[in-house]
Subunit: 463 residues, 2 copies
Amino acid sequence: MSVIKPSLAKGTRDFSPVEMVKRNFIYDTIKTVFRKYGYAEIQTPSFENLSTLTGKYGDEGDKLIFKILNSGEFLKDPKKKSFDFAGEDNSNKLITLISEKALRYDLTVPFARYVVMHQNDITFPFKRFQVQPVWRADRPQKGRYREFYQCDVDVVGSESLLNEAEFILIYNEALSKLGLKDFSIKINNRKILSGIAEIIGKPDLIIDMTVAIDKLDKIGLEGVSKELLERGFTETDLEKLRPVILLEGTNEEKLASLKEVLAQSETGLKGITEIEQVFDYVESLTAYGLPLTAKLELDITLARGLNYYTGCIFEVKTNEVAMGSIGGGGRYDDLTGMFGLKDLTGVGVSFGADRIYDVLEELNLFPVSTEVGTKVLISNFDAEAEKYALPIVQQFRNAGISAELYPSSAKLKKQMAYADAKNIPYVILIGGDEIASGALTLKDMQSGEQKKLTVLAILELLK
Amino acid sequence: MSVIKPSLAKGTRDFSPVEMVKRNFIYDTIKTVFRKYGYAEIQTPSFENLSTLTGKYGDEGDKLIFKILNSGEFLKDPKKKSFDFAGEDNSNKLITLISEKALRYDLTVPFARYVVMHQNDITFPFKRFQVQPVWRADRPQKGRYREFYQCDVDVVGSESLLNEAEFILIYNEALSKLGLKDFSIKINNRKILSGIAEIIGKPDLIIDMTVAIDKLDKIGLEGVSKELLERGFTETDLEKLRPVILLEGTNEEKLASLKEVLAQSETGLKGITEIEQVFDYVESLTAYGLPLTAKLELDITLARGLNYYTGCIFEVKTNEVAMGSIGGGGRYDDLTGMFGLKDLTGVGVSFGADRIYDVLEELNLFPVSTEVGTKVLISNFDAEAEKYALPIVQQFRNAGISAELYPSSAKLKKQMAYADAKNIPYVILIGGDEIASGALTLKDMQSGEQKKLTVLAILELLK
């Protein structure tokens, strides 16, 4: 076997012990909140039949799906003996011959498949969360990987806007627990956007309108106006649109203005009522408890893949660090239609765990406890000390304390370096004196302080 | 988009909420024990460069590796315009043209790659665990899937037999915590097997010997004898082998007999000393605490992929249910040699989580708490009751209790059925009386008992 210098596949990452503790801190925090609101975890397989995935993500998305080669004799048709590669059509034809499954591209389509396949076992409303990796054949770049985790939480089979309100509380609680202090949960409603397009008299251009105004943050009003003109709007339309786009003030003030603007649009008014109902729910839910940490902002420029959402739309941003959205979602009315189950409404949001990781890292918000695995290392001086230490290390473990005995009598310097590298906060030194007296030397690795204590005293201290 | 009836890819599984809670119970229990012994989690990517994986699992293994199609224009050589499929060689050649990465087949090879790539950042001994799915293009059958989890725990860079002893304690603690009461940890040593082959005068036939005697359980002494004769052993050899294979008595008695048999083999005696040392460590470690739940058995018929292991070999079986091994592992001296890092010794074991799941299910050992997600459901009688309930459901959550308010005022029967289906142990009923008096009706879903209690009293009860 020739020796090759190993490398990672392009766009993938290893996670070291320190990184894993931090990642688990994020996932565990989010999952705990999901569970508190009655959501239960499911998992779906890493690969699906190709037919389950293709055609769900648009042409660009389809190209980014990782296909898996059929195993064994992968030509299904034994009469086929050669293949002509020329042209992309032929490439596609070849794929159908040699591949029938693919890695999941997101958690939404597999969830839809799950709901349809298990519809007879599911009691609706079905509240599920799913935290699993997805794979995309994107060109890797800073912050964009070919394998990354999605954290999705959805409820299907309930029209109630209480669900929308609870997602706001879920975002608020999870992000607060992660240590964020200044973040915004933005909310919009597809029906308000439809109403605006209707009032202008261009209902068919709703997608063009929202794609353009969604860019307000990036390209400013002038840029948006230019794009709207290019996309088929007139100067007259723009005059009607501008005040809506530039809507300012509190949520109540914005809603009041919108009610006037949308007075003639039934759909638009429905969207406003929905937003108001969500705000009411949030207020009632938090009536006895703490107010929201998050700023809850009505933002009618928010669109996020509009052709998918049918009601409320959410997006979450931190105001402490320059970073894209760290979460988003909304209500959809036809999740499972693609698999033949019609009229099942749902609403869901997701957390951008990788971005949240970067935010917490930048703000130094990972708690110190996330850096600690083993709590105490017992040094190994010689065979006699080792023998003495063996039942002691086990006593710590029996008390629920993560403990190690250095596995050989290496130089003390090396053993201390080991404790340092693993961020172990305490080291117990056992030599002849300690064995004779029963008082062990406990070294606090942070302060450097040393104390002589009995095993029981140390146990009490570390518990 | 044509509607297709969705199905799972062959050999894969969905995990429902109930299954996930049970699976998490197993993983969390095992991971907690790993951490207590100083092991830290890492993760590696789901796919690796094909060159990292091929040639590591033998020809049969290589065929079971799932290859991923290159994305985009997958023909690397633009001059190549057609391909002749005839013959398997050509299939293999085609693979090199259209695939350069593959799903991981186990956690061992990616771990070896990890250690080599990060050797300058790692402080040895490196104690890591890894719990991730692996994929194999096996023919699916009962209990065998194409995607399944492995739970591996290894230490590299330490020769100490303390590690072996601690793996025995790790198995003992994790499986006891999972509720198993009668299980055996079998131990053997490659050096003892080498010694036996040496004494018989057939050191080159060690693999044939161990493959045959490993089957003692299944085919009995007669079957083993027949196979040994077929594999090049003589009747004279068998006379020497039989007493060794049939070794009975306590571990001490077996070791005493083996010492006589292997008196002329330096390697064999080394193996015995290693086993004795491991037993000594286990005894010292447990000197002050509870004795092992597990039966620790020297079993010299144990081989498990012998060409890989160089020292101790482990296998774990439950005696309560007929089931293959639920764990195994051993010491290896050349994990990372395949990637050019020589002489790094390591030892590791793994847990067969899927089989453990089946065992716990069969013995009804999953704790009741694993069936509970949401602890209390507040019924939704009408708009007034909903309004009254909103701050209350949030009070429960603020107290760390998983709670739901049914999201609409559906028929009570439907709401109760929802609580039943989700195994929610308590339902709070709020009607006009309850709102007037402030005493809510708490229904225990198991006993059917109903009590009138204030919110605070219910909070105390459920905490």
